[in-house]
């Protein structure tokens, strides 16, 4: 089939502002949007810039806004999209560096702020710490996160509020808050209950819809809010 790929282009070394450019290409229904981007880059316009690595939705490099929705270019097939025009623009809320490449530093800074690492200062046992399958199941959803930023950059509060850490960072915190082996909640709750923390969330559910790993992001954020409230009581 013939499709039109409409890309929001921006070259900081030449352009005043982002602008749309269209490319006509042949595509198969099973082609990934990533395949189409490669086709443009490799066969038509080598100046096109975008990030990608694994090509199958595990590395989190290629989150983009495709037909108005945040998705991974490598997990979105042509047949998943209606119509014969596909629009691709950078994810929103992070500074655009070039074409589809955004500055990821603010995103990772927010992630680091919630202390997204295992905290347990007891001397470890000789073998593994024990954990029941049920205890393990409680925090399973959050462990799937690939830090692609699709959720955070779909969040209207994140777009408008300059300090909100965003859904992804809260998912990163959830993964440890509900891990029976972890002891770092006091530190994490401080980071999460501040001005840029969980209370900024207005449960718009954009994040849940955007997650390419099908993590129930909004639900996890609600669980974190509840944990903080219970902790305060």
């Amino acid at each position: 089939m013939r499709v039109t790929l409409k890309l929001l282009r921006y070259n900081p070394e030449a352009d005043q502002a982002p602008h749309w450019e269209s490319y006509q290409l042949d595509a198969e229904p099973m082609d990934r949007v990533l395949d189409l981007l490669h086709k443009v880059k490799w066969e038509t316009d080598g100046t096109l810039a975008f990030r990608r690595s694994c090509g199958h939705a595990i590395c989190g490099s290629c989150a983009m806004m495709i037909n108005g929705v945040n998705r991974l270019a490598c997990k979105t097939l042509v047949q998943d999209l209606s119509g014969d025009t596909i629009t691709v623009e950078p994810i929103r809320g992070l500074p655009v560096e070039k074409d589809l490449v955004v500055d990821m530093e603010p995103f990772f800074k927010a992630y680091k702020a919630v202390k997204p690492y295992f905290i347990n200062d007891d001397p470890p046992p000789a073998r593994e710490r024990l954990q029941s399958p049920e205890e393990r199941e409680i925090f399973d959803e959050g462990t799937k996160c690939i830090l692609c930023a699709a959720c955070t950059t779909s969040c209207p509060v994140f777009w408008i509020n300059g300090t909100y850490i965003g859904p992804s960072a809260i998912v990163g915190a959830h993964r440890f808050i509900f891990d029976s082996r972890d002891q770092g909640n006091a530190e994490r709750f401080r980071a999460l209950s501040g001005g840029g923390g969980v209370w900024r969330c207005r449960t718009a559910y954009n994040c849940t819809e955007a997650c390419p790993r099908e993590i129930p992001v909004t639900h996890l954020i609600e669980e974190v809010k509840r944990a903080i409230m219970l902790n305060q009581l």
Binding site: W42, G46, H56, S61, Y117, A126, D179
Partner: protein, 579 residues
């Protein structure tokens, strides 16, 4: 811009982050240079598990694991490496758990383990539960956990920096690197006492591969270009039996570990003929060859008889949804096939380089068959060849390799940094890198990287993949040489500085071509069949002449020289390899 670190790690996958963590914990000022954000590294794509004789499900011993590794490697595995590995990986897995890694659990709260290809009890009697796992995203969990710990440790990262050169003193000590910053196009120099290379493999030289687009063997090539540093055992490249049809995306061996069966067009479980004892859980090289032969003899599945069916339909859907959720989703997303209802179409996919930069057991890079160490330079993981995997790597042993040898190299790099001082980089250290970039950018007439890379990938697949012959390899030697000549006229459209992915594409193609040259020459030179190196014209293993490691040096483009390194034997005498 110039940076200084005691220990500089290149690459932020499992082996690089492990080395960085252990170096930092022992007091070194550590920097990590990575061409990707760390969590984008391809360790994250590993699925099935990390093998260690924990014995959580059934009796197991490190000696059994060592034996399986040596036999799986078709006796080219260095047995000192296999022993160190099988002993230390137990501790390394426990250490990952202590870092918070969310392994799946048994009802008694211990880490859950599953069966995997080539891992057996009592020296080959039956498959054993050895692979510790977290669903089918074990690599993802390892990568995330190590990155999280690196944040905790406060390690300095240089993300999206592409290393283009390693700098040596005249007497051959590694003292620094030159890297291109993707965001700005600026060249940075890094002065370091110890440099640890952890940049992964080069599967992108093949058309069908499980490897990320970014895996081009950058550092293997950079060292090989020097002429005095060899690459080891480059002829041994693993094809994983189950890549998604056409795409090559990995479907874990854990699918067969959980009971999945490979079937040909008539529904036959053909692995019973090739490996009667452990059938579908035979090592990868044997399964890939069996699949290739089934297809070649007309028993492939589908309208074009060009794939094999991985049948999971007899499994409890709960097992598929809980233990293999990601591969079920890949199959649904990319092929429209629901593995609960119908078999998954699969083909062998270029997966893993057993060969690479030769090292000692502590990751020190060596430059000859006598094991002479290059001071200050270390290599680990898929980029290195220690040689743990010999002629064929067992499933799960790559993840174990990362943490065992990552730790050893991290500690060795600190010890070296503690007693040595910095050596100033020459003022012109970055000049060759600048010339390389300027040369590509200045060219206006020639071919794009795409055309050359496509030809490389297709011909490598046709002439140097699962089965090889003198004739095909001779042909491919010539083709790679022609491609290198074409590459001298590679042109790019993007002449800018910022986020110039066009330039990166061209540079990576140059790296791939060097690795391909080393691979095809080494494959043509080795006149026997062993592990993943299967020669139709020399179908047998020849221990009298070839129980030795290949070292390949580049003398000039297209011209190589070979040296050899003895295999470290010991506990297990080489025997015929049947399963």
């Amino acid at each position: 811009m110039a940076h200084v670190h005691d220990v500089l790690v290149i690459g932020a996958g499992g082996s690089g982050l492990t080395a960085a963590l252990f170096a930092a914990r022992h007091g070194a000022n550590v920097g990590v240079v990575s061409k990707l954000y760390p969590t984008r590294s391809h360790t994250g794509a590993a699925q099935g598990g990390i093998g260690a004789a924990l014995g959580n499900v059934e009796e197991d011993h490190w000696e059994w694991h060592m034996f399986d590794t040596v036999k799986g490697g078709d006796y080219l595995t260095d047995q000192d490496a296999a022993e160190v590995f099988a002993r230390e990986v137990i501790d390394a897995v426990i250490d990952l758990e202590h870092m918070g890694l969310p392994f799946d659990r048994l009802p008694n709260g211990k880490i859950s383990q599953r069966r995997f290809g080539g891992h057996t009890r009592e020296y080959g009697k039956a498959p054993v539960h050895r692979a510790a796992h977290a669903a089918d995203r074990t690599g993802h969990m390892i990568l995330q956990t190590l990155y999280q710990q690196s944040i905790k440790q406060g390690i300095t990262f240089y993300n999206e920096f592409h290393v283009l050169d390693v700098i040596f003193t005249e007497d051959g000590r590694a003292i620094g690197v030159v890297a291109l910053e993707f965001a700005t196009g600026e060249l940075h120099t890094f002065m370091a006492k110890s440099i640890v290379i952890a940049t992964g493999g080069f599967g992108r030289m093949f058309k069908v591969t499980s490897n990320a687009f970014t895996l081009a063997g950058d550092l293997q090539s950079i060292l090989y270009r020097k002429g005095w540093i060899p690459l080891e055992d480059m002829e041994f490249f693993q094809f994983h039996p189950t890549g998604l049809y056409r795409l090559g995306i990995l479907v874990t061996e854990g699918a067969r570990g959980e009971g999945g069966i490979l079937r040909n067009a008539s529904g036959e479980r053909f692995m019973e003929r090739y490996a009667p004892t452990i059938k579908d859980l035979a090592p990868r090289d044997m399964v890939s060859r069996a699949m290739y032969l089934e297809i070649k003899e007309g028993r492939g599945c589908g309208p074009n008889k060009d794939y094999i069916c991985l049948d999971l339909t007899h499994l409890d859907p709960e097992i598929i949804e809980h233990k293999l959720p990601d591969i079920a989703e890949f199959s649904r997303t990319y092929l429209g096939v629901d593995p609960i209802k119908e078999p998954i179409p699969v083909v062998p996919t270029a997966h893993y380089a057993m060969g690479g930069i030769p090292t000692t057991l502590n990751g020190e890079v060596i430059k000859d068959g006598d094991g002479t160490v290059i001071p200050g330079l270390y290599a680990v993981g898929e980029a290195a060849c220690v040689s743990l995997h010999g002629a064929n790597r067992l499933g799960t042993n790559s993840l174990g390799d990362l943490v065992v040898f990552g730790r050893r190299a991290g500690l060795a790099s600190v010890r070296f940094a503690e007693v040595e001082s910095f050596v100033d980089l020459p003022p012109d250290a970055a000049d060759p890198s600048r010339e390389l970039i300027d040369g590509i950018k200045a060219r206006s007439k020639g071919e794009t990287p795409f055309a050359i890379r496509k030809d490389l990938q297709e011909t490598m697949m046709d002439n140097a993949s699962v089965f090889r012959t003198e004739e095909l390899l001779e042909k491919q030697v010539g083709i790679v040489q022609e491609l290198m000549e074409r590459y001298r006229n590679v042109v790019i459209q993007d002449k800018g500085d910022r986020f110039n992915a066009d330039l990166i594409d061209a540079l990576e193609l140059g790296f791939l071509l060097d690795n391909a040259e080393a691979l095809v020459h080494s494959a043509k030179n080795r006149k026997e069949s062993r592990g993943a190196h299967a020669r139709e014209d020399y179908p047998d293993r020849d221990d009298d002449n070839w129980l030795k490691h290949t070292l390949v040096y580049r003398e000039a483009p297209g011209k190589v020289r070979f040296a050899y390194k003895p295999v470290v034997l010991g506990r297990f005498e080489p025997k015929p390899r049947t399963y």
